[in-house]
Symmetry: C2
C-alpha cells in the first residue's frame, strides 16, 4: 500500500492541498458533517496541506470539532461562524493557504480539482505563479481502494448499524404502515445505537416501486403481498456501510421465493469466487449471467468499493478490468426487476482477503 509521499513522487509532484471530505478524513482523521448541505458559514470546512519534508497541517474552521483529528496532525483553525463581523471564512482560509504556498520554491502541488472551490485555486494561481497545480484525484482514489486495518474496523462498525437497520425493517413491516414510518423506525434504531445522528442514504421502497430499483421512502402504504427493498447505507465516523435486503409483507408468492433464492445463490456464488487477481469485470459478468438464467436482469453495477465514500473503486462493472486485491472492501448487490410488477435485490459487503472473501455484514437475508 503506497503512501501519499510515494504517490507524489511517482506523479512528480512536490506538495499536496487536499480538500475532499474523504481526504480530510483519510489523512487527518476529521469527519465533516454533511447532512444539511454546504455550510453558509464555512463553504470549505477543512483542508489538508502536505508540504514536502514537513508534517501535514489540517486547516479547520472553528465551528468544526477538533476532537477527532488524528494525533500527530498539526491543526490550524480559521474563522467559521462570526457575528461581530461579516462571514469571510473561505477568504480567510485562502489567506492562510497563500501564506504557506507563496513561500515555496517553484514546484508542483497535487490538488483535488472536483472538490476544490474555484475561488481557492484562482487565488493561489494568481498569487503563486511559481507553482503548478495538478489533479491527484484518481491516484488518491486508487490508494483508498485498498483498506487498512483501522478502516476495516470502521466499516464493520457501520455495517453493524446496517445489521440493526435490516432487523428493524424485517421485524416492523406490516400492512398499513407507510414506507416513511418503517424508515423512521429503522433510522431511530440505528441512531440510538450509535448515540448520534447518522447521514443515511437509503432505498426504502415497496410494491411496484421495487421494480424501479430504489428511491427514498415516501407516503406509500405497505399492503399484503408487497415486497420491500431496504438498501441501507449509513455513514458512521466517516465510513459508510452498505447492505440490502428484500422482504415480503405477508406471504411471498412462489415466484418471489424462486427469484429470492436465485439471487441469494448468485450472491453467495460470487462471494465464493472472490479472491485476489479475479478481475472486476469477470465477477460482474458471472453475476449477470446467473441473473439472466433466472429470466431477468439489473440496470446497475454488480457492486462497488465502499469506505470514505459510498461508491468507489473497485467498481464491479462490465468495463473494469482491474483485478481485485487483498484489502478491497466491496459491496456486491445483484438484483432482478420485473417491469411494472416488483423487484428484489440482495447485498453483502465483503473484504477481499489473501485467499478469498470475508463477509463483513453479519445479517442473514430473509424474504
Amino acid at each position: 500500500m503506497r503512501s501519499l509521499s510515494e504517490i507524489l513522487l511517482e506523479k512528480k509532484m512536490d506538495h499536496a492541498l487536499l480538500t475532499s471530505l474523504a481526504s480530510v478524513r483519510y489523512f487527518g482523521g476529521h469527519t465533516v458533517s454533511i447532512e444539511t448541505g454546504p455550510s453558509p458559514f464555512a463553504p470549505l470546512a477543512s483542508a489538508l496541506v502536505w508540504v514536502k519534508g514537513q508534517e501535514p497541517v489540517l486547516f479547520l474552521a472553528e465551528i468544526e470539532s477538533a476532537d477527532d483529528v488524528d494525533a500527530g496532525i498539526r491543526t490550524h483553525t480559521f474563522p467559521g461562524y462570526t457575528y461581530d463581523r461579516p462571514l469571510r471564512s473561505l477568504e480567510e482560509l485562502t489567506t492562510l493557504l497563500l501564506d504557506t504556498f507563496s513561500r515555496l520554491p517553484p514546484s508542483i502541488v497535487g490538488v483535488e480539482m472536483a472538490d476544490l472551490p474555484a475561488y481557492v485555486l484562482e487565488s493561489l494561481g494568481l498569487n503563486c505563479r511559481h507553482l503548478k497545480f495538478q489533479d491527484i484525484t484518481l491516484e488518491l482514489a486508487g490508494m483508498r481502494a485498498v483498506k487498512q486495518e483501522d478502516e476495516i474496523r470502521a466499516i464493520r462498525s457501520a455495517l453493524k448499524l446496517c445489521d440493526l437497520g435490516q432487523a428493524t425493517v424485517k421485524g416492523r413491516i406490516s400492512p398499513g404502515l407507510t414506507e416513511l414510518e418503517v424508515f423512521s423506525e429503522m433510522r431511530k434504531t440505528m441512531e440510538s445505537a450509535a448515540g448520534t445522528r447518522l447521514p443515511l442514504l437509503a432505498d426504502l421502497v415497496s410494491g411496484v416501486r421495487t421494480a424501479g430499483v430504489g428511491g427514498n421512502p415516501g407516503a406509500s402504504e405497505l399492503r399484503n403481498g408487497d415486497l420491500v427493498i431496504s438498501d441501507i447505507v449509513p455513514r458512521h465516523q466517516g465510513y459508510w456501510g452498505d447492505t440490502c435486503n428484500t422482504c415480503a409483507v405477508g406471504e411471498p408468492t412462489d415466484e418471489q421465493r424462486r427469484l429470492f433464492e436465485g439471487i441469494e445463490f448468485a450472491l453467495y456464488e460470487a462471494i465464493d469466487r472472490v479472491r485476489p487477481g479475479v478481475r472486476a469485470c469477470d465477477l460482474d459478468s458471472q453475476l449477470r449471467q446467473r441473473v439472466s438464467a433466472l429470466g431477468g436482469t439489473y440496470p446497475h453495477h454488480s457492486g462497488h468499493g465502499i469506505g470514505l465514500t459510498f461508491h468507489e473503486e473497485p467498481r464491479i462493472v462490465p468495463y473494469n478490468q482491474t483485478p481485485l486485491q487483498p484489502g478491497n472492501v466491496v459491496a456486491l448487490e445483484p438484483g432482478i426487476y420485473l417491469e411494472g410488477q416488483w423487484g428484489l435485490r440482495l447485498e453483502h459487503t465483503i473484504l477481499v482477503t489473501q485467499t478469498g472473501a470475508q463477509i463483513l455484514s453479519e445479517f442473514k437475508h430473509s424474504l
Copy 2:
C-alpha cells in the same frame, strides 16, 4: 426587485454560469438533494447557464428528477450515474459548458466562485481565453434577500413543518427519553406530514447542554428539571424554515419562568419594531440591551435572513447597517445562557411588510 439581467448589466457582465444549490433552485426551480453529501456519481448535479439575449438553460445530471424544473426553462441532461463506462459526469458537463461558452464573443461571465469546482473554471479558462470570469455571489445574495410571493409561500410551508415539530417536542418530552428519541419523533411527524424525507438542521439539547447554545441530539436522557432547546430548521422543496422553542421537563423554576418571559417579551418587542428602514444593527442592539437587562447575554446573531439557505442576508448582527426592506424574511432568535447551568432561546420567522412585520411561524412558544 432586480432581475438577473439588471444585475449583470450593472456589474458590466454579459452572461452567467450559476452552480450554487440556491441559484439552481432560484432561477431553475430544481432542488438538489443534499442529505448524503457530495455525490460520487455527479459531483456537480446541476448548472444554470444564462447567455445574453437567450433563454436560460439548466444542465441537469440524468440521475436528478426534472419534475420540479420551472416551466419555460430549457433542460439539457448530462450523464450522472453510469455502469457501462467510467463515471465522468463532471468532465461531460464541462464539455457541454465549453460547447456553449467557446462560441461566445469576448465577454464577461458571472460565476459563483465558492460553489464552482476548480475543475470547471480551469477548463473554461484554458479553452475560452476570450472570456473573463467574475464572481457574482454577493450580488445574487443581495437579490435573494428580498423574497417574492412564491418564495414566501414556500417558506410558510417549511414553517408549518416547524410548527408540527415544535408541537411534537413539547408533547413528547418526558423524563427517561433521550434527546435522540425526542428528535426522532419530531422528525417522523414532520416527514410524515411532508410525505418525504427532509434535510433537517436541528439543535435538540437538554440539561446543561442548553447552556452551550445548541448541538445535535445525543444519547443524554431527559431528567426532571431539565430545559430542552429545540431549534428546528427543515428544508422543504428547497426552502428552509426556522423556529426555536425552549421547554421544561416537569415544572420549571421561577428563574426559568422569569427568563423565558423576558426573552419572549424581547422577541415580541423586536418584532413590533420591525419595519422597512430600520437598520439590522439597531434591531440587534435593542435585543442585546433587553437581554442584558435580564442579566445575561447571547454569543450569536440576533437573527438572519432565511430562504434558499438557512442563514443569509439580512443578518441581524452588530456590524450590519443595512436597512430592512419589505420582502425580507428574517428569523429572530434572542437567547440567554447561564454558564454551566442552562440556557434558553426563542425564535420566530417573520416577513418584513410595507408597514411592519408579519409572523410567518404559527406556533406559540411554551415553556
